[in-house]
């Protein structure tokens, strides 16, 4: 069977798109002043992350990332943006304070980036001799219902409590006098 032409370049292009979407989405999410653009940046970042998960051989996680992050969390944040008025007012701080806080934040995040990537890249990781399974959706299902069944049930309990708590907190103060 003849191979599809230029497969390597197509794969490299898709990978580059995923990486660039992740980086650009994260930058948009933290740097814009309007919150709605920031939410859109989070969406772009999640699409890029979904592509990266696909390259890491976890298609189920790709689907869940798009479904939960883009489909649920970002839409919920947009609802909150519509209910509150989150646009940041023009800064009232002095120019010196702005430079100081911005420089401090940049320094802290730069230090975290440098430290974590240095630790990750310089550590001599050990590649395992053999994998115990293939990591397919079927294997995920089996390990969810055997090894991680207690954690799975606890997560469902946490989500139930979170839904009830969200309803109670958001409803407070809306009862008629």
């Amino acid at each position: 069977m003849k191979e599809f032409p230029a497969t390597d370049y197509v794969v490299a292009f898709v990978f580059a798109v995923a990486v660039l979407a992740t980086v650009a989405g994260a930058l948009i999410a933290v740097l814009t002043s309007r919150i709605i653009r920031s939410v859109c940046g989070l969406m772009i970042c999640c699409f890029g992350l979904a592509g990266l998960y696909y390259f890491l051989h976890s298609p189920f996680l790709t689907l869940m990332e798009i479904l939960i992050y883009v489909g649920a969390i970002c839409v919920t944040i947009i609802f909150a943006v519509m209910l509150a008025e989150p646009d940041e007012a023009p800064r009232r701080e002095t120019r010196r304070a702005a430079v100081g806080w911005g420089g401090g934040a940049l320094l802290a995040s730069g230090a975290a980036f440098w430290g974590i990537s240095r630790v990750g890249l310089n550590h001599s990781w050990i590649t395992p001799a053999a994998k115990v399974n293939q990591g397919t959706v079927k294997d995920i299902g089996i390990s969810l219902l055997t090894t991680y069944s207690l954690a799975f049930e606890l997560i469902s309990l946490v989500i139930l409590v979170a839904i009830l708590g969200a309803l109670v907190i958001a409803r407070y103060g809306r009862t008629k006098p």
Binding site: I35, L42, I77, P86, G120, G165
Partner: protein, 108 residues
């Protein structure tokens, strides 16, 4: 250090995870509304999740462990976002603002 930019090497994933974490910290410090801080928190969650999945894919004998943990992180992030947004709505109803500098009633 020589960087290996390839989809089949762990380097680029680790660097991306570190970048997402750094972006999350920057947003957490610089944002002045609660929703912006929540978005930065989601970035930090994604960074942890990407790091787990990448290290699990390349260096762990059980390929499902990282995916299951990333699923748990997704579920916890969803629960956290719903609680945080309902708190934000309640705060907005009380103060008519979600600017983190104006919520200073407990500030001594």
């Amino acid at each position: 250090m020589n960087l290996n930019i390839s989809p089949h090497q762990p380097d680029i994933y680790l660097i991306l995870a570190a970048f997402l974490f750094a972006a999350g910290i920057f947003g957490m410090v610089r944002r002045r509304t609660l929703i912006g801080m929540l978005i930065a928190g989601e970035l930090i969650f994604s960074s942890a999740s990407l790091n787990l999945v990448a290290l699990n894919h390349f260096f762990a004998p059980d390929p499902t462990a990282g995916q299951v943990f990333a699923l748990f992180i997704l579920a916890l992030a969803a629960a956290e976002a719903s609680i945080a947004l309902s708190i934000i709505i309640a705060v907005y109803r009380n103060y008519r603002s979600i600017n983190s500098q104006e919520l200073s009633e407990l500030n001594g």
